[in-house]
């Protein structure tokens, strides 16, 4: 599945959160969305997920306009999302949470899917534990399992490794990398972790004040702005 954004605007009263965004993310590619806090990344992801209604413009998923309710539901069946700001019910066990979401996404052979994800993400030891009793690293892996429960063709990742220790962060990054390659998943990754973006993303879009101010591969951006790494390139672009 591909994501196509055409002339996208979002205004909150007089504040222009997103201004004339145009981009396309091809099927099976991983694209990074970088920018300082408040630059419009979350609003953009919200519009792609159908949570926010654009003021103007179109979000096309596989050429389907998600503003049409029927399209929105059929597209959401094949998408999923993870964010550190969104959690799973704390009083439900990990397994119960995965069953709930598996059923919402109408996953076939749900038990097998849960077993596979538990095995891949090392959830077996706390599958029957309440989600609220887990460490942040464990919670993150459970959220990742939820985001993969429907074997999504499009995965939207909003700071997927925020607040994780380097070891768990690395584990999650490796898992996402391998998963995307194996399943040809289209991924949009919003992150402040430059090394994560450098490692995972084939293409990077830099956002500032609601606009995309530059895009390209990591190497192209670093070379174009005469910097030595992505972090310095990012700092140059946002401070200009």
């Amino acid at each position: 599945m591909s994501i196509k954004i055409k002339n996208l605007y979002k205004n909150y009263k007089r504040f222009e959160a997103v201004k004339n965004l145009n981009f396309e993310i091809k099927k099976g590619s991983i694209t990074g969305l970088l920018g300082p806090n408040g630059c419009g990344k979350t609003t953009t992801i919200g519009m792609i997920l159908g949570l926010i209604r654009p003021t103007k413009g179109e979000v096309l998923i596989n050429n389907k306009d998600i503003e049409i309710e029927k399209n929105r539901i059929s597209v959401l069946e094949k998408m999923n999302f993870i964010s550190p700001y969104v959690e799973l019910p704390k009083k439900l066990s990990v397994k119960e949470n995965l069953i709930v979401y598996g059923k919402m996404y109408e996953v076939k052979n749900l038990q097998n899917r849960i077993n596979t994800l538990s095995n891949d993400l090392n959830l077996e030891n706390f599958l029957n534990k309440k989600t609220g009793e887990l460490s942040s690293g464990q919670k993150n892996r459970v959220s990742l399992a939820k985001s993969l429960i429907n074997n999504p063709e499009i995965l939207l990742l909003d700071e997927p490794t925020a607040s994780l220790d380097p070891d768990t962060g690395d584990y999650v990054r490796s898992y996402i990398e391998n998963y995307a390659k194996k399943n040809n998943t289209t991924i949009l990754l919003a992150s402040h972790n430059m090394s994560e973006v450098e490692r995972l993303c084939e293409n990077i879009m830099m956002m500032k004040q609601g606009k995309i101010i530059d895009e390209g591969t990591c190497e192209e951006l670093i070379f174009k702005h005469g910097r030595v790494n992505l972090e310095e390139t990012f700092l140059k672009l946002v401070r200009e």
Binding site: Y12, G46, L51, R53, E69, L76, N80, Y85, V86, E87
Partner: protein
Amino acid sequence: MKLRRMYALSIRHLYLIRGSFPRILDLIYWPTIQIILWGFISKFFTMYSDYYNNTVGVILSCAILYDFLFRSSISFNMLFLEEIWSRNFTNLFVAPLKLSEIITALTFTALVRTLIGIVPAVLLMSPLFGVSIINLGAPLFLLFLSLYMFGTTLGILVTSGLLRFGPSFENTAWSSLFLLAPLGCVYYPLSILPEWLQYISNLLPLVYVFEEARSILINNSVNYDNIINALLLNLIYFSLSVIIFYFSFYGARKKGTLVNMGE
């Protein structure tokens, strides 16, 4: 004990009250509603002290019916609030759930939640007070259905407010039903209200439900007009509430409140 430190703690809360009009309104709301409700109850008992003679259990039966209404509405709201409190809200709205599926699922789950709470209370009535709500006979089912529909309608309306305005609308979830207690004529007949208030009360299905419950228990007669009126009004309000819920959802999408609700 340092006065300045105690003062600091006090002004922390005073700032909160000063900065929020809904909080001030909330502080005024509860005593006002209590005064109005108990004012009408007192007036009723002063004027008609022999009204409930030889009809033990009328007040208790009405209390149970009102609690059923209260529980159905609060259950619906609670199911929605739980998602906000657990920060799971966004996950639900990025799942392929239609709004009609959300409303239907919450409506039925709220019924289960309500029954878990109300059945033990109903069972306790008989051994403790020698009163059984079953005395209402077959119409009891229709009265419960009416109250459940109205409770769900209120639940959907409050949920629409939560969707549209975010968690700050939470207080309304708790207070909406208490506003209806005095107007709904739960413990006294409609005639006790001033005439102008009776016009408003007549628009509430509650009035017909409780008038009918009293009529059955006191006069042993069933007036199906009351039951039909209540059900028809419920049908109208329920349909309106569903429309409002859809509008609120689209309003929330426009305003962006579906993202990170509960933050």
